[in-house]
């Protein structure tokens, strides 16, 4: 199997589960940001609990190497904030916008067109960003466990407890 076929099959399964979890809906995305409906956080954190255990197991047995993204402070702060502004207004993130079209919510096409345009603008501005925002402070490719000086399994247990605690809170408050 080539990488394209594998990507397509994985994507179909991913899209299926995103749709079943109801996270492709504008109302769910905005609902999370209005702190009224935490479906998206329940979905993401459930995936993360299962995923972090499996991925660290695969890493420990030497089957894979982790691929941390760089903790570039300017990039994450400025880029993260800009993303948040756009996310709130459009009501979708990149992956869910595509899935929403699959569900018939064709208004997500405007968000997709905007994001393709945004990518084209970014490509033009890249030399400028490279000398400014991206050059401020590079924290390297590190994990939270490294920074805290904790064994990764200890951190995985702590975070799992925190995430499950959030689930209990969400259910109690009917969020």
């Amino acid at each position: 199997m080539n990488e394209q076929t594998l990507g397509l099959l994985t994507g179909i399964a991913f899209g299926f589960l995103l749709q079943k979890g109801r996270v492709l809906r504008f109302d769910k995305q905005v609902g999370a940001m209005l702190l009224k409906d935490m479906t998206i956080l329940k979905f993401m954190l459930s995936a993360i609990i299962v995923g972090m255990i499996g991925i660290y197991f695969l890493n420990d047995i030497g089957f894979i190497e982790l691929k941390h993204k760089t903790m570039n402070v300017g990039a994450v702060v400025v880029g993260g904030a800009l993303f948040g502004v756009g996310w709130a207004v459009m009501g979708f993130c990149p992956g869910t916008s595509i899935g929403a079209i699959g569900e018939g919510r064709w208004h997500a096409i405007w968000a997709v067109l905007g994001m393709i345009t945004g990518a084209a603008i970014f490509a033009e501005l890249y030399p400028f960003f490279k000398q400014t925002v991206l050059a401020w402070l590079d924290g390297g490719k590190v994990s939270l466990a490294d920074v805290m000086g904790l064994n990764h399994w200890v951190l995985i247990v702590i975070l799992s407890v925190v995430y499950i605690g959030l689930f209990v809170f969400f259910e109690k408050k009917k969020l």
Partner: protein, 180 residues
């Protein structure tokens, strides 16, 4: 805790946990089959889509652009993954009969009316800003959020906090105060 939600969907805990399983299987499959470990992500595909569209009118310009050279304009694993999400969501919604052609999101229509050009304008503008942000941050809620937090990446925690923190502030400004 019910396995089904009132809108006929699956429990988000169940669907989410299955995405966790999928992420693990996907890491194993990409490592074994392509020889290169790939984590779930989506936003780089928008760069490649922009590259393809632009190169149909200005090939040389795209060929010379530093960022397009860095990210490589090609149909790769992630590009097909994003296309797969569209197909998977389509079949899932058709099979459970929740597929619905919708011109304006219901929550948006409640606040701002069912005016299509108005929604199109803001969705487009939001998309432009969000993608400039995602490319600066080098990821979106899939790449930084899901894949980053699964790997305990410091950048993932920081990015998700900024995504969500700003999102909460702006959403409360846009959808609450302007409610009229």
């Amino acid at each position: 805790m019910n396995s089904k939600t009132s809108d006929g969907g699956w429990s988000p805990y169940l669907a989410g946990a299955l995405v966790g399983v999928l992420a693990i299987l996907s890491v194993i499959a990409t490592t074994n089959i392509t020889g290169k470990t790939s984590f779930l992500g989506a936003s780089t595909t928008f760069v490649r889509a922009a590259g393809f569209l632009e190169s149909s009118v200005a090939t040389a310009h795209v060929d010379q652009n530093e960022y397009f050279k860095k990210e490589k304009v090609k149909i790769d694993w992630q590009f097909m993954l994003v296309l797969g999400v569209l197909i998977g969501a389509f079949f899932s919604s058709i099979s459970e009969k929740s597929f619905k052609l919708e011109a304006v999101p219901p929550t948006w229509a409640e606040r701002f009316g069912a005016n299509v050009p108005l929604r199109a304008f803001w969705a487009f503008a939001g998309g432009v800003v969000a993608m400039i942000g995602a490319r600066l941050a080098d990821g979106c809620p899939s790449g930084h959020g899901l894949s980053g937090l699964m790997q305990l990446s410091l950048s993932g925690f920081a990015a998700l906090a900024f995504f969500f923190g700003t999102g909460v502030l702006v959403a409360n400004f846009v959808y609450r105060r302007r409610a009229s």
